[in-house]
């Protein structure tokens, strides 16, 4: 089956979510990918949303982070402070799944402002749960569309820590989690270099060239020596994803996703 770049991005991100893990899910692309994982290879994943549902199994994608569908299908719904205190800070989240407005070469994230903080050109929604997801989850997956505007040489504002200035700075600052382990875009998959922690393209989606990735990245992007090709979505993955999005469109009049954190 043929597929879009959005589809391979979502499928490639979903594949990174281990079955049996506890996943803290942001709304939008992360929620789509996490639910695709749950409906394919990871039936025993526990999806947590910051509004309170634990173990949500939505039949259609939520449009907001607090849709009733999440509450109705969850193992339990706890107050929001418990999610952040007992679950995220409590060290019980294996994977934090984040989107972002801007990202730099060390996978630091900006969701706060474009331009100076006190006189912003664009005021973005803000931090939401991201700073503590980024620091406390055992590992972080980032899913974001790749453009030179979003993959920038220098962030206007670091909302959430990736690997900061690179190297072992997270360990030195005693951040509890490993930080970003992969950035999945509509063009490629990047992983931090094991030593420098600079994002490195490890896999190109089928039909995508190095030049396209370079053009969509605001810094001189590095490619792995053993650069691979992202395995194409299987028919099953595509069928499940499309059925999910179709159910969502029927329920909401939209394919789900969008903003909200």
């Amino acid at each position: 089956m043929s597929y879009t770049t959005n589809e391979i991005m979502t499928v490639a991100a979903a594949r990174r979510l281990p079955d049996g893990s506890v996943c803290f899910v942001g709304i939008g692309l992360p929620s789509t990918a996490a639910n695709l994982a749950r409906l394919t290879h990871a039936p025993d994943v526990t999806l947590i949303y910051e509004s309170g549902p634990i173990g949500a199994r939505p039949d259609v994608l939520p449009l907001s982070i607090g849709d009733g569908e999440l509450a109705e299908t969850a193992d339990t719904v706890v107050p929001t402070p418990e999610i952040f205190r007992y679950w995220l800070q409590g060290g019980r989240v294996d994977v934090g799944f984040l989107g972002t407005a801007q990202i730099d070469r060390f996978a630091n994230l900006n969701t706060t402002v474009i331009g100076p903080y006190d006189k912003p050109k664009v005021r973005l929604p803000g931090a939401g749960g991201a700073p503590e997801i980024a620091s406390n989850a055992r590992e972080v997956l980032i899913i974001v569309k790749q453009t030179a505007r979003s993959f920038v040489a220098k962030l206007d504002f670091v909302t959430s820590a990736g690997h900061l200035d690179g190297g072992d700075v997270r360990a030195r600052l005693k951040l509890p989690g490993k930080g970003p382990v992969a950035v999945i875009t509509d063009l490629c998959i990047m992983e931090p270099d094991p030593v420098t922690r600079e994002l490195t393209v490890v896999s190109l989606h089928e039909g995508i060239t190095r030049e396209q990735v370079t053009a969509a990245t605001g810094w001189p992007v590095r490619f792995a020596d053993s650069l691979g090709t992202t395995p194409a979505p299987t028919d099953h993955e595509l069928q499940v994803l499309r059925a999910l999005q179709q159910r969502t469109a029927l329920a909401h009049g939209t394919a789900g996703g969008g903003g909200g954190d």
Partner: protein, 286 residues
């Protein structure tokens, strides 16, 4: 003890110019009717607190009721920007808006600290983030036992917390269920509490250990069915996703926004009339 009053009376009696006001509801049970009534009564200089300022705070900010905002994520959930919030921050319209920006984890902790009457909250947070550079209320302390560094911020103690809930009983006890967000903590942290409800019943018939606000913490209960529109009330009505999408166009333009607020809020007596006017507009558009 709880008084049963109209929303107009509750806002008039309990929310004053300059107050610190938290209207909470995490996507679910957002107290929209109360937000309208605050605008209708022309409150000024409010210090608003909310984890996720969305449409009602966009309306309050655009209407010039707000001078200061403590928050952690300001957007139109599922749609995008809050244009009135952005206009206030980016261009100072209709007036300057001071931001106190935190993360969700911090805000949730700060409500818990407020409910517990502690002056500050403690969290493992903000490591590597620029937020503490722009908010002097995010500080760091060391654990007296382990010497670990932890973030602290001031507890949230609103003058007034406003929430919407499914039910109250005739004694003033309030029951909510489904997505609970930080409503209970926000209410317990406040000096005064206003609750709008879908219905008032003889008995809550609540299951064991349900989320109940006992009447001694509730100052006013206002019957306001549909009062969370366009958000939802679990068990009563669904979220109106189209309204959230439509808001994007309305809020984008100052004049469109002002005209709509005039028609829907200032020219209506209450939320029930707003709903009627809205339904008529929708009928006319169809």
């Amino acid at each position: 003890m709880t008084e049963f009053v109209t929303l107009r009376e509750a806002v008039a009696g309990l929310i004053h110019d300059g107050d610190c006001v938290a209207m909470e509801g995490f996507t679910h049970l957002i107290p929209s009717a109360a937000g309208h009534e605050v605008i209708r009564q022309g409150r000024k200089d409010l210090y608003l607190v909310r984890m996720t300022p969305d449409l009602i705070y966009d309306q309050l900010i655009g209407s010039g009721c707000v001078s200061r905002l403590r928050f952690s994520w300001g957007g139109n959930p599922g749609v995008g920007s809050l244009h009135r919030l952005r206009d206030a921050v980016e261009r100072g319209w209709p007036g300057p808006l001071a931001l106190e920006e935190h993360s969700h984890a911090d805000m949730a902790n700060a409500y818990v600290a407020g409910a517990a009457n502690l002056p500050f909250s403690v969290l493992r947070g903000y490591q590597g983030s620029d937020l503490p550079r722009h908010n002097t209320n995010i500080r760091f302390i060391r654990c007296p036992f382990t010497d670990e560094e932890l973030a602290v911020s001031p507890a949230i103690r609103p003058d007034v917390t406003v929430i919407h809930a499914q039910k109250a009983d005739r004694r003033g006890n309030v029951l909510l269920w489904g997505i609970l967000g930080v409503q209970k903590e926000a209410a317990m942290a406040a000096k005064r509490v206003i609750v709008t409800v879908e219905e008032i019943v003889d008995s809550l018939d609540a299951p064991p250990n349900a989320c109940i606000l006992p009447r001694v913490v509730v100052n006013a209960v206002c019957l306001q069915p549909g009062g969370a529109f366009p958000s939802y009330a679990h068990g009563y009505y669904a979220r109106d996703n189209r309204y959230y999408i439509a808001w994007d166009d309305i809020a984008r333009d100052r004049e469109t926004f002002k005209a709509l607020m005039q028609k829907h809020v200032h020219n209506t007596a209450d939320f029930n009339e707003f709903r009627r006017v809205l339904a008529e507009s929708a009928g006319a558009a169809a």
